[in-house]
Each structure stands twice: as C-alpha cells, then as structure tokens.
Symmetry: C2
Subunit: 252 residues, 2 copies
C-alpha cells in the first residue's frame, strides 16, 4: 500500500467544481472514476481544495491510497491518457502514508484575472472578469496592504461556512496590470469559503473609487460579511499552486 499525491490542472468551465455532488459532474468524480479504471481497484481521492463551480486550477492537490505496482511518478502519464482534455495531471509521486493535503502546513497561491477594457474579449470570457470602468490599481494596491498578515477574515467569508476559526494569514497580494489585463495574485496559509473572491470584489470597489483604500481596514474590523464587497465571479479565479514546506520531494 502506498499514498500517491497528484498535482492537478483543470479548466473549471464544464464542471460543478471539485467536490462530488449529486447535481452535476465534478473534477473529483472524474478523477476517482479514471483512477479506479486504471488501477482496477476502487479509488477515492482526498482533495486539498474544494474549488467552486467554474473556478480553474493549475495545481490543485489530491492524494489516494493504492496497492498498484505502478511507480507513483508514472501514474500521471497513464492517467493523462484516459482523462478528458480539460483535466491534466501535472505530476504524481509517492508521499508518506500519513500525509494529508488539508491537515498540513501549506501555502496556497491563487490568481484572479480582471479584463479592464472598453470591450470584452470573447476568448477571455471564461477565464477573466470583465470590467468596463477603469480601475485604479494604485488604490487597489494600497487597499491590499491592509489584508496582508494575520487577521480575522470573518468579513471576507461567505456565511454558508461552518468554520469556527476565521483567522488566516495572507502572505502576499500582488497586483499587476499588463495592458488591459489585471492579475491579482494572493498567497496565504489557508483561505475561508469564497475568501479570495470576496477580497477581489472588495478591491474592485476600491479600484472603482466606491470607497478609499483605508476603508478595507474597517471592513476587517467589523467582522461582518455585509461590510465587504460582493463576491467576484468564479471564472476569473485560478488555484495556481499549493506548496507543502514540510513535505520532502526527492525527485526535485
């Protein structure tokens, strides 16, 4: 028996998110089904991040246990032959049997793309959030500074969550404009439900001049979802990578 870790990229457009659910096809379901066929034993993966419907990933992480003789690092190749084209395993490798992708020290990095131009670009419509009114990225950068560090992010969490501890550490928020595309990269030790999308929705309000950058500090202090901006749409969001500093990678 061994535990294998997968780094998974997917286009979330055609999936009802990561987690198995009764009302639509999910990435987890496709991976379980494909692994079960490939390895000829029932496989149930444990995912690191339950991305929402329409959200994309470049490096989501999942683990599973198997009795196969196929070496861990070869499973990605075999799996990619069978997966649909909108799901690609970037890497597979064996990890310790007690490694759990959620209950482990980790650094997650998300990217959110905003197309800020006079017209939407059809080829970007499924991978960015189109905003017509010019955004002041300098104001957005100032506002983002209030969010970096360890804070209670209760205001930036959808009320549907059952989580009790709403304190998280944001390591870095980087905002860059390249012509009409604004890339917001956020990394942290963990994120509450919808936290990245609510942060982006709030930064957009600052960028539009609805409120000044300093107001973001007040939003944090209110610890109330109603104080923050709206949740930005799913299609602009991509889970870029999850790093596990305590997990040794011998193949690296």
């Amino acid at each position: 028996m061994k535990r294998v870790m997968l780094e998974i990229a997917y286009d979330g457009t055609n999936y009802c998110g990561w987690q198995i659910q009764p009302n639509g096809i999910t990435v987890e379901e496709i991976i379980n089904k494909t692994l079960t066929e490939l390895l000829k034993e029932p496989i149930f993966v444990i995912g690191a991040s339950r991305t929402d419907s329409g959200v994309h990933a470049l490096g989501n992480v999942a683990v599973f246990d198997t009795n196969t003789k196929i070496p861990g690092e070869k499973i990605s190749f075999a799996l990619n032959q069978r997966l649909p084209k909108d799901i690609v395993i970037q890497k597979s490798r064996e990890v310790p049997l007690d490694f759990h992708p959620r209950y482990c020290n980790s650094r997650k990095t998300y990217e959110y793309r905003i197309l800020n131009s006079r017209f939407p670009i059809p080829t970007e419509r499924l991978y960015s959030y189109f905003i017509y009114y010019p955004l002041d990225t300098d104001a957005m950068k100032k506002a983002a500074e209030y969010l970096v560090g360890e804070h209670d992010f209760k205001s930036f969490c959808s009320n549907r969550t059952q989580v009790v501890d709403t304190i998280r550490r944001v390591y870095d928020i980087n905002i860059e404009r390249n012509k009409d595309m604004i890339d917001i990269t956020i990394s942290g030790n963990g994120f509450l439900y919808n936290m990245v999308r609510i942060i982006v929705g709030t930064l957009v309000k600052v960028g539009l001049g609805v409120y000044p950058p300093e107001h973001v500090h007040e939003i944090l202090e209110k610890k109330d979802r109603m104080a923050a901006g709206p949740k930005a749409p799913a299609q602009g969001l991509m889970l870029k990578c999850i790093e596990y500093p305590d997990l040794v990678d011998e193949n690296k």
Copy 2:
C-alpha cells in the same frame, strides 16, 4: 442607404469558421441573422477574412448596407445586446458606399500562440498549440527573416486554393517567448489560404531542429506545398486586426 463597417471579435471554438456553409453554424450566419432581426430588413455582410473553423478573431472586419436610421457607431452596442457571448462587436461606423473590405489596400495582423511546456495547461487548450519538445526561438527568428518581404508564397498555400497570383508581402514576423508561451505575430498585405498556419508549422520544424533556418529560403524557392512544414492547428491562431490605410476614420 449607408454602408456600415463592423470590427468583430470572436471565440472560434464553437463555430465552423466565418463563412456560411451548410454543415454547421458560422460567425457570418449569426451576424447576418442578428442584424436582420435588429434592423428589420434582410442583411448580408461581406467579410474581410474567411477564418477557418476553430480560428479566433479580435478584429475581423465586415461591411453591410442598410436603410436604418440608427447611426453607424451605435449599431455595435445594439448588436452586442443580442449576440451570443462568444461574438463581440468592438466597433461599428459608417464607411463610403464603395468601400469593400477585401478589394482594398490593407494590412492584416495575425497572432499564433504556442504553449511550449512540459505539460498542457487545460485553460489554454482552445487558444494555443501545445508542443512538448523545447523550441529554439532564436533559430525560428532567423528562419522568419527569409519570409519577410515580397515573395511568391506558393509553398505556403494549401492546394485547395483557386488563387492564381501567389505573391504576397509580409511586413513583419515577430517571435516572443514569455515563460512557456511563444507568441508569433505576422503582418502582411494579404495572406493565401492557410498561409499563416503553414508558416507557423514550418517555423516549428526549424525550432525543433528538423532543418536549419536557411532551409526556409529553399522552401520559398521550390514553390511547392510539399516542401513546407505541416499546417499548425487552428486553435492557436487569432486574427488580431485589419487596417485600411486609405480609409479615413473621423471618429478616431
């Protein structure tokens, strides 16, 4: 009666190209149908470039004649309310009644995107050509120099064409790598059938080291389609813009 010019962006993924044909939905067909409904008179556009199935556009051009009282520059807005999200009119304006988008001095610019990385990225699969083996972009740049200028591009033209004169002028080929993405931008006064995709397929062969950059000069001289490389796949190609230097734009 007036003639109106449209600048049209589209995601070519779900269309059988630009030109109306019996076996599938095309961009031209959707635009004719939507304009006919909007203006309440039968409209038939004349397109500048008949892009192939799966090819994208940021600025294809089409004109049509109408008796509507709606000002030319307002038609884009009204049309965008009715078009599907994968087609967007970037601009509309009145042009002289004798302006024809194909029989006119013009400069067309295409962009071709190659994802040159160890793994395909699912969100890029419909908008780039994935190549695993590392491409030597310096060699590709050298090869491209042989193609710039006025040449007989018969070797770079699919045999299905009925065109007799195969001489065209390529103004510029620019090749840039940004991390794993290689952007090839080609502009010229006109392009033969599949010419950009055959140029890219040939440059890829140079990039892979199959033949040296100088060989592209021999391919040109042979005036034989069999001498050039294969046609690169459609989804990497985007018609960026078509400029008409002799057409005055009063709104600019």
